[in-house]
């Protein structure tokens, strides 16, 4: 068990294994992406209430749903960095923070593009999802800037791991407190529209396809940037030298 674990943590092992997986993941991603996007843009019938804006939702819901994956990702990699000091976990965490910030931003942007039609406003403070996503973005940007400020890479790894753990717990607390805050500020709230939306089953299948596509994209992108990180940090090791001379 312990042997398996330390093998899993070895960057070389990860580099080789991910190299084998990558073509399959990319192929699956291309298939799901194409099916999802073509379906979404051409075939999805307009919703009788929302019209063609339901096409925005399948992208938005997929990105927003996938960005929830960053909580367990950062929590687990942070814990592994702090407890077992595994280098690989930090390499993943570093790129996950950057990618997570991208995901939060795209979620907010697509959400307000949808909201501008359905709610008549680009930004709605009474929606807890928008507000907590905004603070998730802020916290991830904080982690990124902390990493770039700390020079020593080992200190940076542990510091960012700790901040990510504290930050993730905090975002959950923020989410619930903003939700509570909303129930008391129901002035002219247009919220809870897409939770009880009357979308048909076809909509949900298209969304599911997009969610799978975005998850695959997340793993492909994360693997690619983690592999770069491995090459940079392990550049003095023999196996990287061999790899470079072969290429």
């Amino acid at each position: 068990m312990w042997l398996w674990f330390s093998k899993l943590g070895s960057p070389k092992w990860f580099y080789e294994l991910s190299g084998k997986w990558l073509p399959w993941l990319v192929a699956a991603m291309v298939v799901f992406m194409t099916v999802g996007l073509v379906w979404g843009l051409l075939f999805l019938p307009p919703d009788y209430q929302q019209g063609f804006t339901s096409r925005i939702l399948i992208v938005h819901v997929a990105v927003a749903g996938t960005s929830l994956a960053f909580f367990p990702l950062l929590l687990v990699s942070g814990t592994i960095t702090l407890v077992w000091r595994m280098k690989l976990a930090d390499m993943v965490a570093k790129n996950a923070a950057i990618l997570g910030a991208w995901f939060s931003f795209i979620t907010l942007a697509t959400g307000s593009l949808w909201g501008s039609v359905m709610w008549g406003t680009w930004w709605e403070w009474t929606d807890s999802r928008l507000v907590s996503m905004l603070f998730q973005l802020f916290l991830l940007l904080g982690v990124i800037s902390l990493r770039s400020a700390l020079e020593d890479s080992e200190t940076a790894a542990k510091a960012c791991a700790l901040l990510s753990i504290v930050g993730c717990i905090n975002v959950v607390i923020i989410k619930y407190s903003v939700e509570w805050w909303n129930t008391l500020h129901q002035v002219s709230s247009p919220v809870s529209m897409d939770t009880q939306s009357p979308n048909g089953p076809e909509f949900w299948i298209a969304t599911l396809v997009m969610i799978v596509a975005v998850y695959l994209f997340l793993s492909v992108s994360l693997i690619l940037s983690t592999r770069n990180e491995i090459l940079e940090r392990e550049r003095r090791s023999q196996w990287v030298q061999d790899l470079v001379s072969k290429s």
Partner: protein
């Protein structure tokens, strides 16, 4: 050798006393955040509107946000001087659990920078035309909220203690974390203004305070160990 015989509670008290002494010697650390708080609050009526109706609406929020900014600015001194003169390393090497020593430092920081702000808040609330019945709630919510901010902010300060210039990074890290405290603090005051009982919010803040007293020093201690190696 006598060091080993001191109990943890004695070490806790000694750290507390030492930090308070230092703070009272360097009066700037006490006066500046306090002045900053008062000045920021008094800028709002000038910037927004001197009408008392408008001011009543925003009073609680303005006071809370100013407290947040003031406590964040004063936070910078929490471990800085100790890090520079090496006494932080001594603290880490001490045989007593770091949890209590960090807690002592946080308490002394709160006594020096949080408590004065809480005490002066009724005066500023008056200047912002907050109705009388909300004063007690405001003071109570600040009394519960400011220590939470000291405790949580201490984690971020501990993480950045080794950095050369870190004024802004500290803000970027700490401010988003203070959202829940801000929400419940202002909600408590608002509910009093709507003649509802603020007890629910205040007890929720009490829960948050007890959770942060028991967990935040652990995270701060871990962060200090990471920053000082």
């Amino acid at each position: 050798m006598s060091e080993k015989q001191t109990t943890t509670s004695a070490a806790f008290l000694a750290t507390l006393k030492r930090d308070l002494l230092i703070a009272f010697k360097k009066k700037n650390d006490i006066v500046n955040p306090f002045m900053f708080f008062i000045i920021v609050v008094s800028l709002f009526p000038i910037g927004i509107s001197p009408e008392s109706d408008r001011l009543t609406e925003i009073a609680a929020g303005v006071i809370w946000i100013s407290v947040l900014l003031a406590s964040m600015l004063s936070m910078d001194n929490l471990y800085r001087a100790d890090f520079e003169d090496g006494s932080l390393e001594q603290l880490l090497l001490s045989p007593h659990p770091l949890f209590f020593l960090v807690l002592a430092k946080n308490i002394s920081h709160w006594l020096v920078s949080g408590l004065p702000v809480v005490l002066v808040s009724p005066l500023l609330a008056y200047m912002l035309a907050l109705p009388d019945e909300a004063y007690l709630t405001l003071v109570l919510s600040l009394l519960l909220g400011t220590p939470i901010m000291s405790l949580v902010g201490s984690i971020a300060v501990a993480l950045t203690v080794g950095l050369g210039s870190r004024g802004l990074i500290l803000a970027v890290i700490t401010l988003p974390m203070s959202v829940p405290v801000l929400i419940f603090g202002t909600l408590a005051v608002q509910s009093t203004l709507n003649s509802q009982s603020p007890l629910g919010y205040l007890s929720l803040m009490l829960v948050m305070l007890s959770v942060s007293v028991s967990l935040a020093p652990l995270a701060s201690a871990a962060a200090l160990k990471i920053s000082v190696n």
